[in-house]
Symmetry: D2
Subunit: 356 residues, 4 copies
Amino acid sequence: MAASMKAFVMHGIGEVGIIDKPVPRPGPNDAIVRTTAALICTSDTHTVAGAIGPRKDLTLGHEAVGVIHELGGAVEATGLFKVGQRVAVNAITPCYACGNCQRGFPSQCGGMLGGWKFANVKDGSMAEYFHVNDAVANLAPIPDDLTDEQAAYCCDMLSTGFVAAEFGNIPIGGSVAVFGVGPIGMMAIVGARLCGAGLVIGVESRPDRASMARKFGADIIVDYTKEDPVEAIRRATSGEGVDTAIEALGTPQTFASSVSAARPGGTISNVGYHGDGDTVPIPRLDWGVGMSDKTIRTALCPGGSERMGRLMRLIQTERVDPLAMTTHRFKFDQIEKAFGMMQTKEDNMIKPLITF
Amino acid sequence: MAASMKAFVMHGIGEVGIIDKPVPRPGPNDAIVRTTAALICTSDTHTVAGAIGPRKDLTLGHEAVGVIHELGGAVEATGLFKVGQRVAVNAITPCYACGNCQRGFPSQCGGMLGGWKFANVKDGSMAEYFHVNDAVANLAPIPDDLTDEQAAYCCDMLSTGFVAAEFGNIPIGGSVAVFGVGPIGMMAIVGARLCGAGLVIGVESRPDRASMARKFGADIIVDYTKEDPVEAIRRATSGEGVDTAIEALGTPQTFASSVSAARPGGTISNVGYHGDGDTVPIPRLDWGVGMSDKTIRTALCPGGSERMGRLMRLIQTERVDPLAMTTHRFKFDQIEKAFGMMQTKEDNMIKPLITF
Amino acid sequence: MAASMKAFVMHGIGEVGIIDKPVPRPGPNDAIVRTTAALICTSDTHTVAGAIGPRKDLTLGHEAVGVIHELGGAVEATGLFKVGQRVAVNAITPCYACGNCQRGFPSQCGGMLGGWKFANVKDGSMAEYFHVNDAVANLAPIPDDLTDEQAAYCCDMLSTGFVAAEFGNIPIGGSVAVFGVGPIGMMAIVGARLCGAGLVIGVESRPDRASMARKFGADIIVDYTKEDPVEAIRRATSGEGVDTAIEALGTPQTFASSVSAARPGGTISNVGYHGDGDTVPIPRLDWGVGMSDKTIRTALCPGGSERMGRLMRLIQTERVDPLAMTTHRFKFDQIEKAFGMMQTKEDNMIKPLITF
Amino acid sequence: MAASMKAFVMHGIGEVGIIDKPVPRPGPNDAIVRTTAALICTSDTHTVAGAIGPRKDLTLGHEAVGVIHELGGAVEATGLFKVGQRVAVNAITPCYACGNCQRGFPSQCGGMLGGWKFANVKDGSMAEYFHVNDAVANLAPIPDDLTDEQAAYCCDMLSTGFVAAEFGNIPIGGSVAVFGVGPIGMMAIVGARLCGAGLVIGVESRPDRASMARKFGADIIVDYTKEDPVEAIRRATSGEGVDTAIEALGTPQTFASSVSAARPGGTISNVGYHGDGDTVPIPRLDWGVGMSDKTIRTALCPGGSERMGRLMRLIQTERVDPLAMTTHRFKFDQIEKAFGMMQTKEDNMIKPLITF
C-alpha cells in the first residue's frame, strides 16, 4: 500500500484545500523530494482563478526545497546524489534533451512554456513530498551555509527577477526602469544592480513596496498614481529614456509604458505574465514605427541545477538577502489561510514562507 | 552667384515636381556629390503621401551614388578623399559622434530615427548634386569593378534587407520566413541565406514577385491569399515555427503573423515601416503570454562607409546580383513618370533605376 | 550468449585490426545502432599514433550513421524513436544534463573535452554496431531525402568545419582566412560563406586541395610555400587583415599566423587539434601587446540531434554537397587498407567513405 | 606670441622633467582643456623606460580632467559645449569616423591601438593645458555632484578595469579570478561585481593591496607566493576553474595561469600590457589542445563621452568610490617626485593624484 501524504490542491477553479495523496514514486530518471520549505507565488493564485483552465485536485506550488527521499534507478546509478541530501528544485524543470533544450531555451522544453511542469501538467510541490523529473539536471544541492528558506527563494524569485536583468542588455552604468515592484520586481532591481545598472528606477505606488524596493537598491521610485511614469523616467535620464525597461507586472498599460520608456536602441525585458486580451499593444510611435532599434525580449524563469548553484552562491556571498522579502510565515497546515491572504495581498503581504 | 541644379522635390503633400535649386555647399565636415545613379524607394511615396508630415519643396530620394564634387575643409585635410572619386552614400548618414552613435546605434543618431536625414530633415539625393554630412564616415569609395548602378543598391536595399537577417539570430541551417517580398524582402531572402538559413520561406501572393523571390533563393513561397501563412509555415517546420520571422512590410497583420510564426526562442526581426494606428499588436497567446523566449528586434537601415564597403564586396564576389531587381530604367528627366509608377506599382514595378 | 560483431580497433599504439566483439547492449537511456556508413577521420590516425595515450582493443571511429537496433527502456518509453529507424549520431555525445551542458558547452560535458566519448573513453563507431549514450538527445533521424552517406558527413566534418565559422564573428560581407584546407578546412570555407563572408581566403599548398577548396567557395588560395601567407592575406584586405582567421590545422605556425592575419577587433577561431609542445604561441606584437581587441575562440565539434537536424537540412536544401569530398570508397572489410592510406594521405586522399 | 604653459615631458628614454611649451590651439574639430586634476599611470613609467620607443620632449599623461579653454570652430558651431565647462577626457580618444571605429572597435581607431594618442602619437595631458581631438565625441561633461578628482579616475582606471569584466562573459553568480591587483586589478574586482560575479578571487601577494582588494569586493585573496594560484582557484571552485580569468598584469606567467584557471567554456579577459618577448604562451593542455571552448579576449581602455558618462554615473550613484585608491596627493610642481615614486611603487603607492 502506497504511503500517503498531505497536498495543497486546486480542486477546481476557485477552490483549494488540503487532501491526502499517495507519496509519488520515481521513474528511472526521476527523484522524490520530502519538502522542508516552500513559498506561495502569485501565479498560483492566477492558476486557481482559472488562468490556465480547469484542473481537478492538482497539487499547487512550484517554489520548494527539501531532502531527497527516493531516487530513480538511472539517477542512483550516476552516484551524483544520495537519499537525505538537501536539494533545491527550480520552478521550471526542463528535460534538457529535446530540441528546444538543446537550442538553449530549456524553459520552452518540448514546446512553448513546456518547461513549466509543476502545478501545470503535473502535481506541484506544495505537498509533503514532490516528484522531480530529469533529476540529474534538476536537483541542485544546497550548500551547507545556506538555509532551506534562503534556497527556496532561488526557485523562482531570484531566477525570474534576475533573468529580466540578464536579458536586458544593460550597459555598465546604464539606466533601468522596473515596472511593477512585487517580489519579482524586487529581484529585478537586485538583478539590475548585479548586471551593472548605474541607475535603477522602480515604478510603484504602494509605500511599503517602494520602501522595500529602496532597500533592495532602487535609486528612484516613481509613483505612477502621481505622475506619468514615462515622463518621469525620461526626466531622470536627460530626456532619453532608459537603456532597459523591465516589465514585471503583465498588463497592457505597463507593457506599453515599458516600450515608451526605453531609449532608442534600448531593450524591453518582459517577465510579466500577460493574462488578458487577444493582443498586447506596442505603442507605434514610441516604437519608432518599427525602426527604433528597440528590442523586446521575453523569458520564463530559467531552471536547472547549474543556474540554481549560481543563484545560491549569490546568497552565500551576500550579494542578495532574499529573506528580507519574507513578510509572513506559516506552517504547512496553515496554508489555506496563507493562500487566501496571497490572493488579496492583505496585510501588505509580499512573500509568505511555508515550513513543513 | 550660386550654381544651379535640377532637383526632384515634394512641393507639399501629394505634389511632386522638378525644380531648380542652388548646388549645395559643404561645411567643414561635409561633401557634395554629383549624382550619377539613383533608385526610387517606396518610402519616398509614403513621404509624399504625408507619412512624416508636410514638407515644402524638399528634395526627395535617399538611394544615390556619384562623384565627389566638393569637399569641406576638414574632410579635405584628412587626405582620404579627392574630388572626382566615385562614392556611394547610405540612405542613413549618422554623425558617428553623438551618444547613440557611440552606443552602437548610429541609425538613432541624436535621437530616435535621427540618422535618417535625407529627404526628412534635409534635402534628399534625387537631384543633380547632393550634400553629405559627416563625410569622413559616410563617403564610401566604389571599387573599380563595380558599376555605379550596382553600388546604388547598397544604399538601402542591401543594407536594410540584410540587417533584417543579421538581427534575426538565425542558427546555421535554421529556418526563416520573410513576410512581404518587395525589394527589401528580396534582399532579406538573400540576407537570410548569407546568414546561414537552411530553409527560407517567402510569404507573397504576386506571381512575379514569387518568381523573383525563388531566383533570389527562397526555398518555398507561401501565398497568403490561398492559405493561412502561419499554418503553412508551421507545416513546413514540423509544427514548430521558424527560427526567424522577418517582417518586411509594416502592417499589423503581417507583424502579428510574424510573432505567431516564430518558434519559442525564435526572433521576429522587423524592418517594415509601420505607418498606421496607435499601436501594433502582439498576439498574446502565440507570444507565450510574454514568456516564450521570443525576441522582437527592430532596425533602421544601418549606414556608414565601413558597412557600405562590405555590402559592395558581396556584389564584387558575386554573392548577390541586385541588378536583377531592376524592373525599369529612366533618365532623371523622366523621374516624375517613374515616381508615379512607383506609387501604383504598375507594370509589376519592383525597382526603377534612375541615371543622370 | 551475446551476439558477436566485427569491430575495427586500436590494439595498442601503432597497431590496428578487425576483431570480434559482443554486440553492445543499451542501458535505460542508451541505444544501439547498426552501422550503415562511416568515415575515417585523421584524428583516428592521431589516436593510433598515441596522441591520447595507450588504448587496448578500443574500437575506433566517430563518424557513423545507421539504423536503430535496440533502445534502452527509458528511451523506448518516450515513444520518440523506433527500431529500424535511420539515424545519424554526432562524433560528440554529451549527456545534456551536467553543469557544462547546461551552461551551453556540451562538448565539455562533465569536464574538459568530455563530450568526446567515441574512441576515447568508450568504443567508437567503426564497427557493425555501436552504442549511443543519452540517446534521446543524440539520435538524429535522417530525413527520407538524404542518403546515409550524406548524413555521415554531418557527424564531424560539417559540425566542426561550420562551427569554426559560427564562432568567428564574421560580419556580413566580411573577410575570412582558413589555415589548413583538409576536410575540416573545406567545410570551414563552406561555413564561412554560410555565415556571410564576402571574401574567403584558403591557405593551402597542395594543388588538389586548392582546387577542391575553390569549388567549395574559396575566393582566393594562398600557397604558403610560395609567399608569406600573412602578408598575402593583408594584401588581399587593404592591409588590414581579415575579420576572421580560422585555424583548422593545429600547428604553432598556423596558429601564430592566424593571430597575425586577423585585423584589430578580429577573431581567431581555432578548431585545429594542437598535438605538440607545452605551449602554443601568441605573437605578442601582432596581438597588440594584449590590447588589440582580438578574440581567440576555440571549439570542439558541437553535437546533439537538434544541430544534426540543421546540418542535414543544409544538405537537403542544397547549400552544401559534402559528398564532393569523398575521394575514396571502401567496404568495411577493406578498412585496414583505407586506414593505412589515411595515415599517409596517399593518392590525394581527402575523405574515405566506408560502407557496411 | 603664443601663450606658454608648463608640461611634464619625457625628454628621452629614462629622462623626464617639466618644460615650457606653447598652449596648444584647436583645429576645427578639436578642443583645448585647462587641466585641474590628473593621475599618473604605471604605463607612463613604461613609456619613459622605452616600451614604445624613443620620444623627444613628449608630454606624458593620459588621465586628466579640467575646464574647456578653447573650442574649434566646428565644435563651437554644434552648441554642445561652452568655454569654462568642466569636462573629463578618456585616455583613448578615437575619431569615431574611421572603419575600425564604425565596426565597434574605437580603441583600434585607424589601426591597431590607434585610439591611444595621448603621450604616444601626440602630447599627453600632464600639462597645464591639453589638446583633445574629435572633441564632440571625446569631451564628457562632469556632473555637478562629482568632483574633478573623482572624474579623473574614469579616464583609464574605471574604463580599463571594468572592460576586463564586461568582456569576461561573467554569468550571473559566476566566478572570477583577477590576476594582478594594482589599480586596474582593483577596478576589475569592482567591475566583476558590477557584472554579476558571485565569487571574486584576487591573486596578489602584497598585504596592502590584498587589504584594499578586499575592501573593493574581493571575496578571496590568493597569495601566489604561498600557493599555486591555479590550484587555489580550482579548489575554490569545486575543481572546475573560474568562469572568467582576468589578466591585469601582463606577464607570460600570469597569462598562462589565467588560461589554466578558466574552466572549459570560460573566458580569459586580458587587459594586461604584455611588454616582453616575441610570444605570449598559451598552455596547450589546459587550453584543451585548442578545443576547450575557452575564449581569450583582449581590450584597450574604451573611450568616448558616452561611456565616460556611464562611468561617472556609477560614482554618482555610489556603486564605486575610486578615491579610495588615492594613496598619495601632489601639486603639479611636485610631479617629478610623484613620478619617481610611481616608478618604484615606494611607500606602497597605488595611485597618486595630481592637482593643478
